[in-house]
Amino acid sequence: MFRYLLFFLLFSPALVAEPLFQALGKNAEQQPQQAVWNLTITPDGKNLPIGHGNAQQGEQLFKQHCASCHGFGAIGASAMPLVGDVGSLTDEYPEKTVNSYWPYATTLYDYIRRAMPPSAPFSLNSNEIYALCAYILSQDDILENNVELNEVTLPEVKMPNRDGFSPVYPNKR
């Protein structure tokens, strides 16, 4: 009994102001170089995969993979419209499409790769994704019809609503 009490007095974490614990993180120097990590594509386009595609190729792919939910011509069906209504954001009934609302084209690549189509995420290769981006953007002349998108040209696309967002954080409301 006394021995336990002594143990408590000498070694109790209650006597330590800082939490006492063993650092159990495993060295992960290698992971950042592995393809399965750091998937997020940022507006600078730094880790965009190599590839290329144009609107014409994209149109075929869209019919095949996307139109059943997003409608023919990407005007929306059971899933939201992706094109059209550029400039509608101050209207009484604004429409938030990729082309009218999204501030960065890199986000389109990022989201298609990780989440579309929902039945098979990560199933489209980089050429296919660039082609789909080109198709969607060209519908509202954000991209000229014959321009090829790739890891260099995609981040250069300026979306119509690039300056449309004002951050609440870190400014307090």
Binding site: P19, L20, F21, Q22, A23, L24, G25, K26, N27, A28, E29, Q31, P32, W37, N38, L39, T40, I41, T42, P43, S68, C69, S78, A79, L89, T90, Y93, P94, K96, V98, Y101, W102, P103, Y104, T106, T107, D110, Y111, R114, A115, P118, P121, F122, G164, F165, S166, P167, V168, Y169, P170, R173
Partner: protein, 418 residues
């Protein structure tokens, strides 16, 4: 002048006369019946052994209708929500089976023995943490709400929706979350000075990704492993989720697999296209994160009918604020002309549901019941007109206005805008 329909608690007690009606009668004592008569007259449950023990308990069969209502896309059944039936619950803790869900592509099946979290980017030492390792760190517990940024968004519609309270406002739930203070792990990795944001990524079929300020992660973020004392439910992020008390649901990333520390937000789909509030100017509020104070009368509420006229009803509901504790909830029975302070049930916790109640003596008149929350920062829940004046009516997300329940002379309750 309109007469206040709501009385203070003392007036209410003085005015109560109903109980005296029942005081005047006595039953004559009967002789003790013999045992066969008891067998014929006692309830069945007393005349035979009950059901066996169960390995994992379930609600009573008589409560089978108390469920989460599901709203999902028929073409993508894993994309949608299920709503907590707030109007059917009491207290403040949401049972795990009724915690609201928002999934972007279904509930993943993740084996905890192979799942790891990677913390990398602008750190001195990128590290991975297994679930077994996380369980060995000091654990912290926080009771708090999680609310979807899209909760109550039917409030933006031009006409008031008549669905049950939970089916409109039930994308908020409150639970006790336990796990590792994230700052311990970030400090173990060594955060570099330029690291201002972390890109969080989930291991689900949407690989959901959002950017989160490092400041919040170092403040009160938890890598939650337990929900109301048991391991997380799959639909709430098993085996590990991010918990950011008071911040909108989307950043409380479930099924977390990576935190990458970076200088700038990644501008992912769920922080640009979604969860941003479009204003009449055409600009959109982004990274609004903190859920503002809100309250809701859960009973009586839309779709219910008051059974007795006149009658006494316990008006009760929930209040919460992402900025801290609730300091006051007021209730009105006349559409906001007059207010009475409701009782707040203890404990009143930071960034958690607070239950309020107030007895109400209904005399059969037309009434409009409302609740209005104030939090410890002094912020007061706005009227619908004030919210729309500030944000327009195409904001879609982050709706926290006062909710109005109209009681007609027959005791039927509907949702109105005042």
């Amino acid at each position: 002048m309109r007469k206040s329909l709501l009385k203070s608690r003392r007036q209410f007690i003085q005015g109560t006369a109903l109980s005296s009606v029942f005081l005047g009668f006595n039953l004559p004592l009967k002789a003790q019946p013999i045992s066969t008569e008891l067998q014929q007259s006692l309830p069945d449950s007393m005349l035979k052994p009950g059901a066996n023990f169960s390995n994992y308990g379930q609600p009573s069969v008589y409560e089978k209708d108390i469920i989460r209502w599901i709203s999902a896309n028929p073409n993508v059944p894993g994309n949608g929500v299920s709503w907590t039936p707030l109007e059917e619950l009491q207290g403040t803790i949401t049972p795990n089976g009724l915690h609201y869900e928002r999934h972007h592509n279904g509930v993943p099946d993740i084996n905890p023995s192979t799942h790891e979290i990677l913390i990398d980017g602008l750190v001195d030492k990128p590290l991975t943490f297994s679930i077994d390792a996380l369980k060995r760190y000091p654990q912290t517990t926080k009771i708090c709400f999680i609310e979807c940024g899209g909760n109550s968004n039917a409030g933006w519609r031009s006409s008031p929706i008549q669905s049950a309270a939970g089916y409109v406002h039930g994308l908020v739930s409150n639970a006790e979350w336990t796990g590792v203070p994230l700052r311990l792990l970030l400090n173990e990795c060594g955060i570099q000075a330029e690291a201002k944001w972390a890109i969080a990524e989930a291991a689900d079929g949407a690989a959901l990704n959002v950017s989160i300020p490092v400041e919040k992660l170092l403040d009160d973020a938890i890598l939650a492993l337990y929900q109301n004392g048991e391991r997380l439910r799959p639909e709430n992020g098993y085996p590990v989720r991010l918990l950011l008390p008071g911040w909108e649901g989307i950043v409380n990333v479930k099924w977390l697999r990576q935190l990458k520390l970076v200088e700038q937000p990644a501008m992912t789909r769920d922080e640009t296209a979604q969860y941003t509030d479009l204003l009449p100017s055409g600009k959109a509020r982004q990274f609004s994160f903190t859920m503002q104070a809100k309250s809701l009368i859960t009973s009586p509420s839309v779709g219910m009918t008051l059974p007795d006229n006149p009658g006494i009803y316990q008006v009760t509901g929930l209040a919460w604020s992402g900025k801290g504790k609730i300091s006051k909830v007021e209730v009105s029975a006349d559409g906001g002309d007059s207010w009475v302070e409701a009782e707040l049930h203890t404990p009143i916790l930071d960034k958690a549901f607070t239950r309020f109640s107030l007895p109400w003596q209904w005399q059969g008149q037309y009434a409009v019941l409302q609740s209005r929350a104030t939090d410890e920062t002094g912020y007061q829940q706005p009227t619908r007109q004030a919210l729309i004046a500030e944000r327009g009516d195409n904001s879609f997300f982050h709706y926290n206005a006062i909710v109005s329940w109209e009681v007609n002379e027959d005791g039927q309750i509907s949702h109105i805008y005042v």
